[in-house]
């Protein structure tokens, strides 16, 4: 969505709400040319705790050791079939 600088000034709260709630990016124009963009900050999701990281890595390595196919293969070819 494009708005002029004067519109942006007048409705800044509304545009911030649109960016936060609907993921809208508002392009602000000066002299009808894009000059800046207003968008929500990327949502920050939680970090893994140290104990979770240890457990995850251990489980991932463990499950990997068990996942040994008979022959070598290319995953992209397998997914090509599945996604066709």
């Amino acid at each position: 969505m494009r708005v002029s600088l004067s519109e942006a000034k007048a409705k800044l709260s509304e545009y911030i709400r649109l960016a936060q709630e609907q993921g809208e990016t508002i392009t602000i124009t000066v002299d009808q040319r894009p000059a800046a963009e207003l968008r929500a900050v990327a949502k920050v999701f939680r970090q893994l705790s140290p104990s979770e990281m240890v457990m995850i890595n251990a489980f991932s390595d463990s499950i990997c050791r068990k996942t040994v196919q008979q022959e070598s293969f290319d995953v992209l070819e397998v997914l090509e079939d599945i996604r066709r």
Partner: protein, 138 residues
Amino acid sequence: MNFVLDASVYIARHSPKETHHQRAKQLWQLAPTVPFHVPEIFALEVVAAFARLGLSSDLIDEHHAFMMGAKFIVHPVDKGLVDGAMVVARDGRTRSADAIYMALAMRLQAVFLTLDLKLRTHLADSTNMALRDLNIQS
């Protein structure tokens, strides 16, 4: 930083005989402290691939349980994501599943981890236009 994980990386990371295994391990290690974001179809694709590759049901179930755990944030393929994927598919001429992953990455402003170089090129080429359209439709 957020990371969207393609099924290709998961499968190769956990398959020592896969051609890209080492590369997948490197990609996996880019996000040691945060969960990966995946669309709902991710686990289905992994399960389907492992079944085709002849893994036992028990082992596939272990993978499934892992994919439902703390390392993954599963996003529903809802109308907003599908709308975004349509724009990606239209502009990038991608397959539908690829478009869903790419739309999720754009929605989260995330790094998309995939072994598919063609897909990465598509993403780089189409991101700017697709992002704008995505924001209009979401």
